[in-house]
């Protein structure tokens, strides 16, 4: 049991039906079973998997078995293509306001990586576009959260706007934007406290920050190791705030990262960047096809297919 990846799985299935000219419905059923398991093991939400499998079935039944590909490879190709499409194109850009400062708000569950990602995004945008960011410390709850952001600010040699932990986050955010205008910072990153999507009071606080600062981007930071609950989290944050993008963190680990697919499927918002480490330069643009291969448990599916 427990095959390393989908390719092994499908190979096993296809030993039985090798040499057939057409993929029959029964074959497809066998195969989609394997695909389903692979996706579930990668933490893709089971409802998302269900929809996905139905699409695959439609596409795969009756297909001619290509001479150049084994049926297993062919199915992988279909699956990989569908996954890639579902995850959207590459959109690793932050939307810039034509009336600076651009306001970027980061939200998410506790410990997802918001504060670190705040530092990373600011670093990235300064490097790529020569912008002058201001970091706003709006987490007044977590012990030493402000200190954490200030430390990142000094590592980056970047200003951090803080008012201690007695002012309301809404007020801090508002004043941070005013301060950015005054100091000619062209982009403000608002680091918010981690919160549960079911914590009504704290979710309302985010709505109020949004209202007060009219952000150009509201980014949900999601831990790539998240399991089935990712859809509930993403759905709630999206409903309350209207997300504009997602950053997946901790993809330097060995998780398959199926949450990426779940989050994209329920919010429709693009995954813009991925976090690849704890250091402040460990941020990369999101590549849908790489993510698809990863979820399927394969290094690079396309080369695998081409070699065959």
């Amino acid at each position: 049991m427990a095959f390393e990846n989908l390719a092994d799985r499908l190979q096993e299935t296809f030993k039985k039906i090798r040499g057939k000219g057409k993929v029959s419905e029964a074959d497809v059923k066998q195969m989609t079973r394997e695909v389903r398991l692979a996706l579930l093991e990668a933490d893709v939400n089971f409802k998302v998997v269900k929809d996905f499998i139905n699409r695959i079935k439609e596409r795969a039944v009756g297909q001619e078995v290509l001479k150049s590909l084994t049926p297993g490879q062919q199915v992988i190709k279909v699956v990989q293509e569908e996954l890639t499409t579902l995850m959207g194109g590459e959109q690793s850009k932050l939307h810039m306001s034509n009336k600076p400062p651009t306001v970027v708000m980061l939200v998410g569950l506790q410990g997802a990586g918001k504060t670190t990602t705040t530092g990373k995004l600011a670093n990235y945008i300064r490097k790529q576009q020569n912008k002058k960011p201001l970091l706003a410390a709006c987490d007044i709850y977590r012990p030493a959260a402000i200190k954490q952001l200030q430390t990142l600010g000094s590592q980056l040699d970047m200003p951090v706007f803080a008012m201690g932990d007695k002012e309301s986050p809404v007020e801090i955010a508002k004043q941070a934007v005013a301060k950015a205008k005054e100091d000619h910072n062209d982009i403000v990153f608002i680091d918010t406290a981690g919160r549960l999507h079911v914590d009504d009071a704290l979710m309302e606080e985010l709505e109020n920050i949004k209202e007060a600062t009219q952000p150009d981007e509201i980014i949900l930071v999601v831990d790539a190791m998240t399991g089935q609950d990712a859809v509930n989290v993403a759905e709630s944050f999206n409903e309350r705030l209207g997300l504009t993008g997602v950053v997946m963190t901790k993809l330097d680990g060995d998780t398959r990262g199926g949450a990426a697919l779940s989050v994209k499927a329920v919010t429709g918002t693009p995954i813009k960047f991925v976090g690849m480490g704890e250091k402040l330069d460990a941020l990369e643009p999101f590549h849908p096809e790489r993510m698809a291969s990863r979820i399927l448990g394969m290094g690079d599916v396309l080369t695998l297919i081409e070699k065959a």
């Binding site: 709850y141 954490q148 998240t226 989290v233």
Partner: protein, 295 residues
């Protein structure tokens, strides 16, 4: 009993919707379990068991299978009770090492544990073994103040093994009951960081041969299948003795710990139910399984 009731109502529901025992029926049963992040292999094993039962007993109607399902599930899920208490030394120092991946709740859990042990009348000392993450030392210091216990620290960037060594020395000379060591979050596939952790543990064992008396792996309930890898690899590197499952106050069920207990035989010792100092509870398998089956 609660466990059985809640499972029964979920299973009843299922039985009503599918009268016949067929693939779709089993698939939905699978989904109930998978949606709680119970490990995929564990779920498959469970469902396989049920299919066998149905076959051998020639059961065709779901109604007849109901009791079997509840039986098989509850026996697998609440199998032998594990010892979930902390291995406190009757006299002398107890050393607890806390490990886990980034952001799961290690430092917070240490703050809560420190408070709990203090309340029980023990003297507690903390070691700021995360010298890497920005603000980590200050964060532990705030928890130290809240629980009213001292924190042994060096400055950011220093060697964590050296901090822990100093803390062990201090704990011995002060004669405290419990020393809890914080460590930096690290992903289990980072070989160098796992080596560093092994070294921290060795430093403790060198001073007190039977210590650390507990190595607690903190797992985030929101985590899916990857938690199994975390348990395996941290287990190999540091001989983990128990799990703390945090963030159960959210909607995630943390079902993966069932698979971890099933495959690796690791008990859950505490659960985290919030960000406050009181939000730590001993693990109760009935309550846990109840949550697993609630919608």
């Amino acid at each position: 009993a609660k466990t059985r009731e809640s499972m029964a109502s979920r299973v009843n529901n299922l039985v009503k919707r599918y009268r016949k025992v067929d693939e779709d029926f089993f698939e939905e049963l699978e989904e109930i379990l998978i949606s709680a992040d119970v490990g995929v292999n564990t779920v498959l094993e469970l469902v396989e068991k049920l299919k066998d039962e149905a076959r051998t007993r020639n059961i065709k109607e779901t109604e007849q299978l109901k009791d079997v399902i509840i039986e098989v599930l509850s026996s697998m899920l609440t199998e032998e009770e594990k010892d979930t208490s902390i291995a406190m030394q009757a006299d002398g120092l107890t050393v607890i090492l806390v490990v886990g991946v980034n952001g799961v709740g290690k430092t917070t859990t240490i703050g809560k544990m420190a408070y709990k042990f203090k309340e029980e009348g023990k003297s507690v000392l903390l070691a700021a073994g995360d010298t890497f993450r920005a603000g980590a030392i200050e964060q532990l210091e705030v928890w130290g103040q809240r629980a009213n216990v001292d924190v042994i620290k060096h400055h950011e960037g220093s060697d964590p093994a050296a901090v822990v060594y100093d803390a062990v020395m201090a704990a011995k000379s002060r004669g405290v009951d419990v020393l809890i060591c914080d460590t930096a979050g690290r992903l289990q596939n980072k070989v160098n960081l796992m080596k560093e952790l092994e070294k921290v543990k060795r430093v403790i064992s060198r001073e007190i041969p039977e210590a650390p008396h507990e190595v607690l792996l903190v797992l985030d309930a929101t985590t899916g299948q990857n938690a199994m890898n975390q348990a395996k690899i941290f287990g190999e590197a540091t001989d983990v003795s128990g799990i703390v499952l945090t963030k159960l106050d959210g909607t995630a069920k943390g079902g993966i710990v069932l698979a971890i207990r099933h495959e690796l035989d690791l008990p859950v010792k505490f659960v985290g139910l919030g960000e406050g100092i009181h939000d730590l509870q001993p693990f109760d398998s009935d309550t846990f399984v109840y949550g697993l089956f609630s919608e």
